[in-house]
């Protein structure tokens, strides 16, 4: 099959593949270049190498099962996709999430945003041959992932944020680990500022390369750090505040020229702001009763005891249920029995808990939003991550469409690199932070 560029190319210019399995192409983007020496005359971007049929799978899974797919969309900042998906459904169900769960969601999505920017700048710097920055950033990301793993149980694909709240409460020692992560990230940010900000090589590779005017950025539907690097102030956290973002004060860094260097600088500043938000969240999060793993009856004994009368003693839960005990449950989960699993103690001992738990997971029951459609968007690592869900009243979404910010960023790559050298593709592509999971869906 002949590509568009093969038809348009004039015979004596060289046609080159910058194919899917290329270290700088994040694994699954193919750029076909028509070259005159090092100069790019024409290029064609081909995507779809990581198309995993997400939207078709959504029509065959229940709302609860789809949570795990949302982690793998923008796999660099998975918790933000979780928040987006879950809040779209909560908007449909008009479910009220408790205060502490909202603060935990903000804390987790900001940590996830920092790890997103760290990974993006690590890849961009490594592709411009600054390998030290790659090692520093991934080291800082390890500390953040330790905090995420301690709270959610998984380093990256957590599916920790559930419909109605969060899966488990924060660990008792979370302030120390979060402070440590914030401190380490600040140290690394200072090092990277020192390494790259006035680095002659990095400047000559990123200053005034991949220039994007504000009008073009809007015409391409850019959102997120890349749009802000052209000077337009549009951030979903400020434009349509959700969760508790309106109570936290943070400002939005803006670039002036909209070239690679500005995108790099906006991301570095945004990490600074996210660290500020994390610290404010630590200070303002409403207290919750100390979590203590009750060591009382075994579940089997509790069930036998509950047949006679309500068992007085506490029940020993399995360790992976830590954080979701009954006394903590009402702080981290909404209390609307139709859409929420009851705490395990009630599911073991009381008949209502058992029935609602069973009904939640039974085929055809569970979470069934009313007929209709809804669109809700959150500020993801690369821009506005929007979910458009059409529900027909059954427990499976009739249609789920994801507004992927990366699709709009990559659509403009052909114009950004026209007439430039081959070596300019790498920093331009790197600074846009193209994540194929959400682009190809």
């Amino acid at each position: 099959m002949t590509a568009r560029i093969q038809k348009q190319a004039n015979p004596e210019s060289l046609l080159l593949n910058m194919g899917p399995s290329h270290p700088a192409m994040h694994g699954a983007v193919r750029i076909m270049l028509e070259l005159d020496g090092e100069r790019i005359l024409n290029s064609e971007v081909e995507v779809g190498y990581l198309h995993r049929g997400f939207e078709k799978t959504c029509e065959n899974r229940t709302y609860f099962n789809l949570l795990i797919y949302t982690d793998r969309l923008n796999y660099v900042s998975p918790l933000i996709n979780n928040v987006g998906y879950v809040m779209t459904i909560e908007k449909m169900l008009s479910l009220q999430v408790p205060e502490r769960a909202q603060y935990i969601r903000v804390l987790m999505s900001e940590l996830s945003r920092i790890s997103d920017h760290l990974t993006c700048l690590a890849a961009m710097a490594m592709e411009c041959a600054a390998f030290t920055v790659f090692l520093y950033n991934i080291k800082a990301r390890e500390f953040i992932w330790d905090v995420i793993e301690a709270t959610t149980g998984a380093r990256m694909t957590t599916s920790y944020i559930r419909i109605g709240g969060v899966r488990a409460d924060l660990r008792p020692d979370y302030p120390e680990s979060v402070q440590k992560a914030v401190l380490e990230t600040r140290k690394v940010l200072k090092d990277v500022h020192g390494l790259l900000d006035k680095n002659k090589i990095f400047l000559s590779r990123t200053r005034d390369i991949g220039l994007m005017t504000p009008e073009d950025a809007i015409a391409y539907g850019w959102t997120g750090p890349c749009l802000r690097s052209t000077g337009i102030c549009y951030d979903v956290r400020k434009a349509h505040p959700y969760l508790v973002y309106d109570r936290l004060n943070f400002d939005i860094p803006l670039g002036e020229r909209g070239d690679n260097y500005d995108r790099y600088m906006v991301r570095m500043e945004e990490m600074e702001q996210s660290l500020r938000i994390v610290e404010q969240c630590l200070a303002r999060i409403p207290k919750s009763p100390g979590r203590v793993m009750a060591d009382g009856l075994e579940p089997a004994e509790a069930i036998r005891a509950s047949r006679l009368k309500k068992p007085g003693q506490a029940i020993r839960l399995s360790p992976n249920l830590e954080g979701a005990e009954k006394d903590v449950y009402k702080n981290i989960m909404a209390d609307d029995p139709r859409f929420i699993i009851p705490p395990k103690e009630e599911a073991y001992t009381s008949i209502e808990g058992l029935i609602s738990h069973f009904k939640f997971f039974m085929k055809g029951h569970g979470i069934r939003p009313p007929k209709g459609e809804v669109y809700f968007s959150v500020e993801g690592g690369n821009g506005e991550v929007g979910y458009y869900i059409v529900s027909d009243g059954s427990d499976k979404p009739y249609r789920l469409h994801l507004r992927a910010p990366c699709l709009h960023l990559l659509a403009s790559l052909e114009d950004l690199i026209k007439g430039r050298l081959v070596a300019d593709i790498i920093p331009t592509f790197g600074s846009m932070n193209i994540i194929l999971g959400e682009l190809d869906r």
Binding site: Q6, L14, N17, G19, D36, G37
Partner: protein, 113 residues
């Protein structure tokens, strides 16, 4: 005398390493193995187009000045015995090549497009 042994050992070492690779590596061929590697994607043009002359020019200039540096090594070894004239000879040698460098620079051989 020992200079001979030094060259012998290192020469043999080089030969052994190269031949071991040729001898011990299993040789299995398949149709795709001999084709050029273009990130795995299907090829956009069948034959290889001639490269623009600019690449050749840069390669040649690099070769020229690289060879110039090679002559400094033996000179540095015997620099002590030659006392006076060593510097003059090297300056003349360097000057000629510097003139060539400035000529290439002014001719614009180093500008890319």
């Amino acid at each position: 005398m020992e200079l001979f042994f030094v060259f012998l050992i290192f020469g043999l070492l080089g030969v052994v390493l190269l031949s071991m690779n040729a001898l011990l590596g299993p040789k299995r061929s398949n149709p795709n193995k001999d084709k050029p590697f273009e990130c795995g994607s299907p090829y956009l043009q069948s034959e290889m187009k001639p490269f623009p002359i600019k690449f050749y020019l840069v390669a040649f200039l690099f070769l020229l000045f690289d060879v110039e540096v090679v002559f400094f090594f033996p000179w540095a070894l015997i620099f002590k015995e030659m006392k006076g004239p060593a510097l003059v000879i090297m300056l003349a040698y360097g000057g000629v090549l510097a003139a060539g460098f400035i000529y290439a620079w002014k001719k614009g051989a180093f500008e890319w497009d």
